[in-house]
C-alpha cells in the first residue's frame, strides 16, 4: 500500500478495494454504470473564465466537416462533437466502448490477424442529436461567436436574432454522466423547434431513447430528455417538439454493456444500457441546468487546474483574431503567439480530461468520430500512437487520466496471453519464435477492446506498452500502480526470454542476444533480426522488471535470470556508412530516410538510455543526432511531435520549437496541420486529411519536455527553451519522473524560481545549465529554489 497522502483519491480507493478483495482483479470501473449521487458544489458563483484558456471562432462548424470543425466535449467516456449552428445544433455522440468486432482469433493465411470492421471491429458512433430551431438560420443571425472554455470544460455559442441575444452552453458532465445542452436568451426571445436523438446503425427510436445490440453481443442505448421554462415541450413520435420556450435544457446520455473483464467476454450481461440511459437523463433533469453546470465545472476544474502555463504575452492584434485566423497568422507572419501556443497545450489537456477517465483509453481518434468508418478502425496502435497519447498525461498534471491505459492493458492481458500462447508460433507467422518456444504475451500493431489484435504481429509492442506503464510509476511513485502492472512486465519478460536468439557478432567471438525476425515500424525489411527498436525496448523492459522485482520483493530468482539476459542483449552501434545510429543491425539504410517513425531513436525518447551527457558515448549521441536530422523537419502531426521531443532531449530548442510550430500550421484542404477545432490532421493522400489525435498530446508533451527534463533522480530546468518563450513565462504542476512536480518561473531565458514538490520521490538533483543542486524531500514536502546562475 502506498501511503502517499497526495495520491489521488480514486486510485487510493481502488487499491484499498483491491486489498479488501472487493473489486475484480482486473480493476477499473465498468464503462457505463449506475453512479452515486454526485457531490454538488456550494452555491457560489462560477469562477470567471480567463481568455487565455478560451478558444473562439466566428463561425459554426460544418455538419459535413465535423471532425475538423465540431467542438469536442466529453466526460471521459461519453463524448460528442458539436456543430454550434444556431439553426441546427448537431452532436455526434460517442462512447469509448462502442465497438464492433471481437477476439479476432482466427489468423489469416499469412499467420497474421484479420484487420476489418467485422472481426477485428471498429470504434463507431453511439448516436446523433439534433436540435432544430428553424427561425435561427445562420443567414438571419448576427454577431455569432462560439467559445471553448478549456478551463471550465464548456462550449458556449451566442448570437443575436432580431435584437435578442441567444446563448447555449454544451458540456459533458462526469458527475451526472450526461451531456447537457442549455439554451437561454435575454431580451424576450423564445425557442421553438424540435429535438431528435437518432442512432447511426439503423436503430428504431421509440419516443426519447433507443437501444440495440451489435452482432458481437454488445448492447448499447441512449436517451434524451428535455425541459423548459415557459412554453411547451412535448414528445411527438420519435421527436421532441418545443415551442415558445424562454429557456430549454436537453440532457442526453447513453452507453454500452461493455465491461473490462475478459472472463465475462467483456460484457456485463445484467446491464440494460437503454434503461440506464433513461434513468441517467431523468436523474439529471431533476436538477437545474445551472446546478448541472456547476457540478460539471467543479469536477473539470479540479483536473484542469493541476497545471497552469504561460509562455509569454501575445499582442492585442493576435488576441483580436479568432482561433482559426490566429493559426493562419502564426504560420504566415512568423510571429510567435505565446498565448495561442500555450492554449494549444491546454487544449491537449482538455481533450485528455474529456476523453480518458473511468473508461477506455484514448484511441487513434481519442473519443471523437464523425462517421462509422474511422481510418484504422479508430483502434489502439501499439507502435507509437497509444503510447504518445499518454506521454503528456503525467508531464502535464493529469496523472489520473493515465489510469485508463493501465486499466485497458490489464483488462486485455488475459486475452493477449491466451492468443499469444495459441497463435504466436503459428508456422505461417513470419515473426514466430524460431526457438520453437512461446511464453508470456504479445500484441499486434493494432489492438481492440475485446482482447483482440489486428493486422501484423508486433513483437516489441508488449515491451513498449510496459515501458509506458512503467513511466507512470516513475512519475507517481505509486506502489499500487507498480503492483498492478507487474504481471504485465513479467509476462513480457517471459515472452522475450522465449524469443531472443543468440548470434555471434561478425568478426568477433562475442555472442549476443537479439530479436528474432521482425519489422522495424513500419518500413524496411520484414525479416530483420536484432532491430534497434526491439533491442532498446527489451533492454529497458528488462531494466524495469529488475527494479520492479526489487521494489516489490518478488521473483528475485527470475529477476536474476532476466538480469543475465539483459547483459547479453545487443545494443545498436553507429553505421560507419551513414553515420547514423543503425536501425537494422546493418550499416545500410534499408528503409526510407525521412520515414515518419523514429523507432531506432526510442532510446533517446521516450527512453533515455541515450543522453547528451557524459553517461553516453559521444559517438552514439552523434549517431542518434545524425539520424534524427536525416529524418527531417517536415513530417506530420505525431511524427513531428516525436521529432520535437527528441530534439528537446538533445537540447536543440530551435528545432524542437520549429516542429511545434509546424504542427500548428492550419490544415488547408486536408493538408497536414491543425484543423479549425485544433484537431491534428494527417494528409493520407492529396486532399484527404484525417484526424489522428496523437499529435494533440505529443506536441504538448514536447512543449513540456522543452521546459523540464526529468528522469528518476534528476531533473533539468529549461533544457530547450526557445527564444519565442524566453522573455518570461511560468508553468505549475509539471510532473517529474522520480515522483515530483515542479512549478517554474523564468525571465529572459533563465529560471527565477522553481518549486519542487514531492508526490512520493525523495531525492533528485535539480540542474540548470551547468549547475546542479540536490533536493531531498519527504513525500508531500516542497522546496522553492532561486538564484540560478548560468
Amino acid at each position: 500500500m502506498d501511503s502517499n497522502p497526495t495520491e489521488p483519491s480514486r486510485r487510493r480507493l481502488l487499491s484499498l478495494a483491491a486489498a479488501a478483495g472487493v473489486a475484480t482483479a482486473l480493476g477499473g470501473l465498468p464503462a457505463f454504470t449506475a453512479s452515486a449521487a454526485p457531490q454538488r458544489p456550494a452555491d457560489a458563483p462560477l469562477p470567471k473564465g480567463s481568455s487565455r484558456n478560451q478558444l473562439w471562432w466566428q463561425a459554426p462548424g460544418d455538419e459535413h466537416s465535423m471532425i475538423e470543425q465540431g467542438l469536442p466535449v466529453g466526460n471521459g467516456r461519453l463524448g460528442a462533437l458539436a456543430s454550434n449552428d444556431p439553426g441546427r445544433e448537431l452532436l455526434l455522440i460517442t462512447d469509448a466502448t462502442m465497438w464492433t468486432g471481437g477476439l479476432n482469433d482466427k489468423l489469416d493465411s499469412d499467420g497474421q490477424f484479420p484487420y476489418d470492421r467485422e472481426n477485428f471491429g471498429s470504434f463507431t458512433l453511439l448516436g446523433r442529436l439534433t436540435v432544430d430551431i428553424p427561425d435561427h438560420d445562420l443567414s438571419a443571425v448576427n454577431d455569432y461567436r462560439r467559445t471553448l472554455d478549456l478551463a471550465q470544460g464548456v462550449v458556449t455559442t451566442s448570437y443575436v436574432r432580431s435584437g435578442v441575444t441567444y446563448k447555449r452552453q454544451i458540456f459533458a458532465s462526469r458527475p451526472d454522466d450526461a451531456i447537457v445542452l442549455h439554451f437561454t436568451q435575454s431580451g424576450g426571445g423564445r425557442y421553438t423547434g424540435s429535438i431528435a436523438l437518432d442512432g447511426t446503425h439503423e436503430e428504431s427510436v421509440t419516443g426519447t431513447s433507443f437501444g440495440a445490440a451489435f452482432p458481437n453481443g454488445l448492447r448499447y442505448g441512449a436517451a434524451v430528455k428535455a425541459s423548459s421554462s415557459g412554453g411547451s415541450v412535448r414528445v411527438n413520435g420519435p421527436r421532441i417538439d418545443f415551442s415558445g420556450c424562454k429557456e430549454l435544457t436537453v440532457v442526453v446520455s447513453g452507453g454500452t454493456n461493455y465491461a473490462p473483464d475478459a472472463s465475462n467476454g467483456y460484457r456485463d450481461p445484467s446491464l440494460d444500457p437503454e434503461r440506464l440511459a433513461r434513468t441517467k437523463v431523468r436523474d439529471a433533469t431533476d436538477h437545474s441546468a445551472d446546478t448541472l453546470l456547476r457540478t460539471h465545472v467543479a469536477d473539470h476544474r479540479e483536473l484542469f487546474e493541476q497545471l497552469d502555463i504561460s509562455l509569454g504575452t501575445s499582442s492585442d492584434e493576435q488576441r483580436a483574431l479568432d482561433t482559426w485566423e490566429r493559426l493562419g497568422a502564426r504560420a504566415r507572419d512568423g510571429e510567435p503567439d505565446p498565448e495561442l501556443e500555450a492554449a494549444y497545450l491546454q487544449f491537449g489537456r482538455y481533450l485528455m480530461i474529456s476523453g480518458s477517465r473511468g473508461s477506455l483509453p484514448l484511441n487513434l481518434q481519442g473519443l471523437w468520430l464523425d462517421g462509422n468508418d474511422p481510418d484504422w478502425m479508430g483502434d489502439y496502435h501499439t507502435d507509437i500512437n497509444i503510447q504518445m497519447n499518454y506521454w503528456m498525461a503525467d508531464r502535464a498534471g493529469l496523472s489520473q487520466c493515465f489510469d485508463a491505459l493501465t486499466d485497458y492493458c490489464l483488462a486485455q492481458f488475459p486475452s493477449w496471453t491466451k492468443l499469444t500462447k495459441d497463435l504466436y508460433n503459428d508456422p505461417r507467422n513470419r515473426f514466430r519464435n524460431s526457438t520453437g518456444k512461446v511464453a508470456g504475451w504479445a500484441v499486434a500493431f493494432s489492438t481492440n477492446i475485446h482482447g483482440g489484435s489486428g493486422w501484423w504481429w508486433h513483437p516489441a509492442g508488449n515491451a513498449w506498452l510496459c515501458t509506458t506503464l512503467w513511466e507512470h510509476y516513475e512519475f507517481t511513485r505509486s506502489r499500487s500502480h507498480l503492483a498492478r502492472i507487474y504481471p504485465l512486465l513479467k509476462g513480457a519478460c517471459e515472452f522475450w526470454e522465449a524469443r531472443l536468439i543468440t548470434t555471434t557478432l561478425p568478426g568477433t567471438s562475442q555472442e549476443v542476444l537479439i530479436d528474432d525476425s521482425d519489422w522495424s515500424p513500419e518500413h524496411g525489411p520484414q525479416d530483420a533480426k536484432g532491430i534497434t527498436y526491439a533491442q532498446e525496448l527489451v533492454w529497458v523492459l528488462f531494466d524495469h522488471f529488475l527494479t520492479a522485482s526489487k521494489e516489490l520483493k518478488k521473483d528475485s530468482a527470475y529477476a536474476k535470470k532476466i538480469g543475465g539476459l539483459q547483459k547479453r542483449l545487443y545494443l545498436p552501434k553507429v553505421s560507419p556508412k551513414t553515420g547514423w545510429l543503425e536501425e537494422w543491425m546493418s550499416p545500410d539504410n534499408l528503409g526510407e530516410t525521412t520515414h515518419r517513425h523514429l523507432s531506432p531513436l526510442i532510446g533517446l525518447f521516450p527512453g533515455d538510455r541515450i543522453r547528451p551527457d557524459d553517461s553516453t558515448p559521444p559517438e552514439i549521441v552523434e549517431g542518434a543526432t545524425a539520424l534524427l536530422a536525416a529524418r527531417g523537419m517536415e513530417s506530420f502531426g505525431w511524427a513531428n511531435a516525436w521529432r520535437s521531443l527528441c530534439w528537446a532531449r538533445l537540447k536543440d530548442a530551435d528545432k524542437a520549437y520549429q516542429l511545434v510550430v509546424n504542427n500548428l500550421r492550419p490544415s488547408i484542404d486536408g493538408g497536414n496541420g491543425t484543423a479549425p477545432n485544433l484537431f491534428d490532421i494527417y494528409e493520407v493522400e492529396k486532399g484527404r486529411g484525417i484526424f489522428q489525435i496523437e499529435a494533440n498530446f505529443g506536441t504538448p508533451a514536447a512543449m513540456i519536455e522543452m521546459l523540464v527534463y526529468s528522469r528518476p533522480g534528476h531533473l533539468e530546468l529549461l533544457p530547450a527553451l526557445p527564444e519565442a518563450w524566453a522573455k518570461s513565462g511560468s508553468v505549475t504542476g509539471v510532473g517529474v519522473r522520480g515522483g515530483f512536480t515542479v512549478d517554474l518561473r523564468w525571465r529572459d531565458g533563465k529560471p527565477t524560481e522553481a518549486r519542487i514538490h514531492s508526490v512520493g520521490g525523495r531525492t533528485t538533483t535539480v540542474a540548470y545549465g551547468n549547475t546542479s543542486r540536490t533536493v531531498t524531500l519527504k513525500p508531500g514536502g516542497s522546496v522553492t529554489l532561486r538564484d540560478f546562475a548560468r
Binding site: 471562432w57 466566428q58 463561425a59 459554426p60 462548424g61 460544418d62 459535413h64 466537416s65 470543425q69 449552428d85 438560420d137 445562420l138 443567414s139 438571419a140 443571425v141 448576427n142 454577431d143 455569432y144 448570437y159 432580431s162 435584437g163 499582442s315 492584434e317 479568432d322 497568422a329 504560420a331 504566415r332 507572419d333 512568423g334
Partner: protein, 620 residues
Amino acid sequence: MRSSSYAPGTPARRSTRAVLVVALTAAMATTLPAAQAATPTATTPTTKSTTTSAADAGVGAEAVAAKPYMGWSSWSMQSSKYPGLNPDGDYSYLTEKNVLKQADALAAKLKPYGYEYVNLDAGWWRAKDWKPGFDEYARQKADPGRFPRGMKPVADHIHGKGLKAGIYLPVGLEKEAYGEGKTPIWNAEGCTTADIVYSDLRTTNGWDSAYKLDFSNPCAQKYVDSQARLFADWGYDFLKLDGVGPGSGKNGDQYDNVADVAAWQKAIAATGRPIHLEISWSLDIGRVADWKKYSNGWRIDTDVECYCNTLVSWENSVDDRWDDAPGWTRHAGAGGWNDLDSLDVGNGQMDGLTKAERQSYATLWAIAKSPLYTGDDLTKLDSYGVSLLTNREVIALNQGGTPPARPVTPSDPQQVWAAKNADGSYTVALFNLADSPAAVTADWSTLGFTGKASVRDLWNRENLGTHTNKVTQALPAHGSRLFTVTPRGAALVSTGYEAESTANTLSGNASVADCSACSGGKKVGNLYVGGKLRFNDVVVAKAGTYMVKVGYVSGDARSIDVSANGNGARHHKFPSTGDWGTAETVSVPVTLKAGANTITFDSGSGYAPDIDRIDVPKSS
C-alpha cells in the same frame, strides 16, 4: 439553352417516349377550355419604341430594359429531370397549358412585386420528339401538340393578366427550314431561302443547327423582318435570340452573329412594337459594344440549369457567376443588362439548393443588376422562396437607380461585393462560397471610409445598428448577407505607391508597360511563372493588418500571392477586369510592421494580373 438541349439530332431515348407524348397531348388538347383564349391586348403598349436606351422611351410606356426585366422563363423546368416535370419527354414541359398556369401564378403571386414577363423558351415550334414545324415562309410555327391554338392566344392570355409575353428563336436559318433553298421569304418578292444564306451553307450558332444568314443579300434582312412581324402580330413583347456568337461556345467569322442581332434590332423597330431583345449565351465580352448597341441584355454565362434531377445545382453552374460577372459589371445600364440567367430560388426541393445557396443566388442577381426571372414552378413556391422573390428592399436595389456591385475584395472563398450609391450609402454583399460556414468581414476601408457606419440588413429587414470600421458575420456554406451601409465616419486617407516606380524591385520577367487606363499611365506586367513585383518602402506608423487597395488590370481572373517583409503569402484570385485595357481595384489584407515594409506580388507558378498601383491606408 445550350447545346445539350438543342442538338438537332434527337436522342434515341426520347423517341420511344414520343409516341406516348403525342397521344397524351392530343388528349389534353381536347379538354382545354376554349374560354381561355382571346383576351384583348389593350394593356400592351403599341407606341413605337426603339430598343437602345431609356431616353428613347416611347410615349406612355417605359422604355424597354430601362430596368433589369423581371418575370418567368420556361427553360428551367423544360431542361430538368425533376420527377413529373417532363413526363412526355425531354423539354416537353413547354405547353400552352403549363405556360398559362405559370402566367396565372405569376400574376397572382409575383406581379405586385414587379415581375411581368412570361417567356417561352426553346421548342414552341417543335414537337415533343423535337421535330420542328415551319410555315410556308420558313418561319417557325407553333407546334400543334404544345400550342394547339397557336402562339397568339398564349400572348393574349398573358396580356390579359397584365403581363408581357416572351418568345424564343435560335439565331440563323434553321437547317430544317431551308427546304432545298426554294422556300419563299414572306413579303420579299423573289427571295427564297437559298438567297438568305451563304452558298456553301455554312452553319452557325452554338449548336451549328442553322445556316448562317448572309446579310449582303437584302433577302436575309427580309427574313428576319418576317419573323419579327410574326411575333409582333402575335403580340410578343420579348425575344430571346439564342446560340449567338461570338459566344455560345463558338468564335470566328462563321459564328459571328453581330449582324443577326443588328438585323433583329432593325426588324423589331420596323414592326412598331416594343420588343425586348435578349441574346444568349456566354456572349464574347470582346464584342460587348455591339451587344450594347443592338440588344437589351446578354447572357454572360452558360446555362444556369444543371440538366439533372433538380432545376439547378450550386456547382453546375450557379457558382460560376461569382467569377464571371465581375468583368461585365461596368457594362450594365439602362437599355442593356448583364443577364446571369434564371433565378431558380423559389422551391428548395425543386431548385436543388440549400436556403443559404438560394439567398446567395438571389443576392448576386440583385446586386449585379441582372434581370430577375425565375424558372421555378410558380404554383409550388415554398414560403422561403416567396420571401426571397418578394423582398421589396432587394427588388428595389435591383430595379432602382443604384449601380451594379462588383467585388471589392479578391474572388476568394470569402468575398465582399459593393457599389457606392448616389446618396453616399453603399450596397454591400458578403459571400461565403466555401463548403463550410465561415466568417466574412466587410472592412469599411475597402469601401473608402473609416469609422462608424449604420448597417441595414436587407434580407432580414432589420437595422443592425452602428458598426465601427467593419462588419463581420458568420455565413453558412455558400451563404451571403446583403446590407446597405451608410457611412457616419471619415473618408479613408491612404498613401499611394505606383507599380512602375523605380523604387520597386521587379524580378523574373516582370516589366513596366504602358497602360492608358492606369494611374501614371503605366503598370507592371509580365508577372508570370516567378515574375514578382516588390514595393520596397511602404511605411506605416503602426503594426497591424491593413486593407491594401490594389489597382490592377486582368483580362481574365488570375491569381497572385501577396506577402509582406518576406513572410508567408496570402493567395488571392483577382476577378477579371473584363479586358486588358481596363483597371479595377480590390483590397487585400497585408500584415505590416511599424515603419518601413516591403510588399511583394508574386505570380508563383502561374499567370498573375498586371499591377497598376497600391494604396495603403493610414490606419489598419
